[in-house]
Symmetry: C3
Subunit: 415 residues, 3 copies
């Protein structure tokens, strides 16, 4: 990116750069009281989190690029150090990047935007759930991405995530394999209008096997990165043969106004051979709709190289004496995730229950937010969140359903 | 600092630098035998520790500076990787730095010196105890520092430390808030004389709450960074409403001789509403006096930008053929920390005991040391320590009091 | 190395560089079925591992060089972050490097080659076992290395490894001390022929002491870096006073053909004073022979500065349109490690058993591999491994001996 420190050899064969994405969040929850005899759960009144502290190191020799990105931040409870990516890329083919190694393969428009350009602090829950099936951060991937002016296509064969086998108590004895696919197009483009359509699909052909067999649990917090108790859950899903997800993505820009939405359907196949009960397939889904308006500065534009909308532009750096205020945008989002196993009919031998007795539950999150950019490298965010989660059997903090609110700010620096 | 690798854009709007502070210690303990049936404790005869391995990464764009500093060293038992700081700073106001993010807010002259410039391997115990109440390394801070030629003032509102909530067994459900304040002045300045006076104050308005409530234990090793058993303790303090500390700092330079001292008083308020017993407030205190003389090279000078004395200067790099020996200084320090709860009168319902039956104890440390600087980037240290710690009820390694000695060397490189 | 990003001051007094060694492995095991009622062990059919992700940071001021190298990879189960080295070096003496700090002191030809230049994915097992007695990665070392055109000698006094004391359950209360020594020569040198001879020796004068006393277990996987169950073991050796190892190394190059071999004998002395039984000394040994031929490109040459053979050279970067294929080499290796305690005669009071009832076992590994270098910075490896391990009493996965196969590829980038 522009402004990233870079050194090159005189003949341009070599280049090295060191970039940064630093995001630190602070805020808390209000009105998240438990009902009845539920346990309260962890909803901190005021706390902080280093969400991302990524050091983007990149070495290039001719058409070969190596990216290694340590991350000193954490999704919601900081204090550990990990890896965002470490991969080798070949860029010798036209508009194409071939990649092998630990990487974040992207299938959703929201992920394709890159985490420094988000409208809100966090991705919608359904995006977080489907991207982690066979993609997500530091996933071993072999594949590539190709873009043209009006379309983009990407596909990756994927394996484990960095650290998946790093458990002393219950190590993985057979690793996951899967895939991630994305295709997008721009059916209409003009100065004032951008239309984005696309489809994303992913599958885990087999999930990690431990001494507990092949299990998986969908679970998420309420789109707030402060380490709060996860209320949304599918319940533990056992004897899994395959998990897949697919869905459409849509975006529409009119001048400085941007409307986006994505829908994903998730399917879970059980390995019936391994059990006496004839377990049914399960189906979950979720979606979000987000609206955004840039009050000051250039509006969010479309980047054909990543098939996604990008961050607003600052016309003049913040300088109150000259009446320059950088850029400012306002956003709203409605996000629904339904992990209730409608149609499941088998009760014994697994967590799947009769209708109306689901192990999973449903979450709705409303968010509104302001982002201020004093210059192109600094971003100050403030998000208000209202969430509502239905009851989940077996989750002691959510026996009776729960709703509440959060206010969280973020300071971001990117180079 | 001078000699730190830096690259800048031609228009000076951008700069990036990557610095280092590497400190590796080696040494051991002598004559630390247990008395009676005490357990021996861990006083290694000869071992090593990577004290600090900090990579100072800094990105600047105009008046905005972002600092991210990973640390591969550890206070006394190396092997983990963490974060020293990650913060965003605005330097657009005259002689002022405004800071938000993980930072080390400083209230003591000894901390203000920076850890690469210390006279001894470690800070005095009382400084270590009070700085960690609401400051210390990687503390989330919002505040600023302003300096002039004859004075400096700094104040920060603070939150959790990086990683505070990162416990799988007993997570923090309500995070700490606090503050750190410092004001210093230079009442007399001449070529041969510097007088430094100041005051530091700090408070934790509430401390981290876990399933055990709000608790705190003051504890420290004997000012030696080799992972030895901590003998000094206040005992566990429960049901805490607030902890504060404040005290004066003093420094006097005459030519190459430097005399310093600081005193801090610590107060602990209990939350009596939460208990049946009417718990008293507790009071601890500690101080140190240190003398230093520079045998070869420039003496320790005063840096008005940090309100503290700094490291000696090397006139000529080490080169025995030319009779150049770099710089050499000798130091001595007397450090006392008293965690006995004098005046406490309540025995049941808490650890506070009748007079003469304190849960806490008292530590006295005498140190002498030599520091050799072959050039401005390299420092070789050798410290001798004699310590004496009074008995602590309930500490199996210190039932009868303990004294002993340590000899520890350090190799330091700083860029 | 050539191509490593470096910045220098105009007067050449200062230099800073940031290099990389990235190795990511993927592959799996075939035909490693358990026999009888053994447990299967962990032999993943297909998985991945970030073997080395080292960031080589180096600051130089005149004759003083500081190296700090974080490592985000892991020997066989990735997910943790550690340190490869952090040391201070003085290079002011002719052809000599004096070193203090965390370092990898090298005594074997195979280690001296550096891990980016290996013929195979992993060192032979016997090399891995002896180098870790008192050397290995991030070992605290004080010593030096001196080379001339026809010989090289190196010696280090060593302490603990980075993180050795970092155990919350069973910390080290008295740290290890030891030493590592190497001497090599080149009795015959011509354009087509290089002859390398040498000797390596090491000893742990005392090993780390924990609450279990001074114990040590030799153990290794089957020279494959995918986290597989370690089948080879000496059994736990207790009450150890000293461990030493020594042996010869030999290399012979004729044009593009290279033949290498090393043999090491390991001796373990018990501390009989501490036990009632009169424990005997134990003796283990192992060796390997490796043959290599460079099919395309410059053959492996000899580097007198490290006393070892190095990686093949690429004449022209990979460019199929011009008929350039980079470099390609083929290798084969036979590696035997015998940890059976022949001659041990005492049965009670320790693990040492009567002849024929050894606690340790024997491993033989055959490997063949291809390495392709599209350019000097990129290396693609493919290794086939066949292993055979004899039975070990008390190892549930190897009660009846085991053999099997593995196929593993590696993608490497080095700057």
């Amino acid at each position: 990116p522009k402004g990233r420190p870079t050194i090159s050899s005189d003949d341009k064969a070599y280049a090295f750069s060191i970039g940064l994405l630093a995001q630190e969040d602070f805020g808390g929850f209000m009105g998240v009281g438990q009902r009845g005899s539920e346990s309260a759960g962890n909803f901190n009144k005021f706390t902080q989190n280093a969400r991302r502290l990524r050091l983007y190191l990149s070495w290039r020799y001719k058409d070969w690029v190596v990216n290694v990105t340590p991350d000193f931040g954490s999704s919601s409870v900081d204090g550990t150090v990990g890896l965002f990516e470490a991969n080798l890329n070949y860029t010798g083919l036209h508009n194409t990047t071939l990649t092998v190694g630990y990487f974040q393969p992207r299938m959703e428009e929201d992920s394709a935007e890159r985490s420094g350009a988000f409208e809100f602090l966090e991705r919608p829950t359904i995006v977080d759930l489907v991207r982690n099936i066979a993609g997500g951060v530091a996933r071993f991937s072999i594949g590539g991405e190709h873009y043209e002016k009006r379309w983009l296509v990407a596909g990756y064969f994927t394996g484990q995530k960095f650290g998946d086998r790093n458990s002393s108590t219950n190590p993985v004895t057979d690793s996951q394999t899967g895939g991630v696919f994305r295709a997008t197009g721009r059916p209409y483009v003009s100065k004032d209008i951008d239309v984005h359509v696309g489809v994303g699909a992913t599958a885990a052909f087999k999930v990690n096997q431990t001494s507990n067999g092949r299990s998986y649990t969908f679970s998420d917090n309420v789109e707030v990165p402060l380490g709060e108790t996860k209320l949304l859950t599918s319940g533990a899903l056992n004897n899994i043969s395959q998990i897949w997800a697919a869905g459409p993505q849509f975006g529409f820009r009119y001048k400085k106004f941007l409307l986006k939405g994505e829908y994903y359907h998730v399917g879970v196949q059980h390995n019936n051979a391994a059990t006496t009960a004839n377990l049914p397939s399960l189906n979950f889904d979720g979606w979000y709709v987000a609206a955004n308006y840039t009050l000051i500065g250039h509006g969010r534009g479309y980047n054909e190289k990543i098939g996604a909308f990008t961050t607003p532009g600052v016309e003049y750096d913040f300088d109150p004496a000259k009446g320059h205020w950088g850029a400012l945008e306002i956003s709203g989002r409605w996000s629904v995730t339904d992990l209730r196993t409608s149609g499941a009919t088998i009760k014994s031998g697994s967590l799947i229950q009769a209708d109306g007795e689901t192990g999973g539950n449903k979450q709705t999150v409303w968010q509104g937010g302001l982002n201020w950019y004093p210059n192109q490298h600094i971003k100050i965010m403030l998000d208000y969140t209202h969430f509502s989660v239905s009851s989940a059997r077996g989750v002691s903090t959510d026996l009776l359903g729960r709703n509440g609110n959060a206010v969280v700010g973020r300071v971001q620096a990117a180079f």
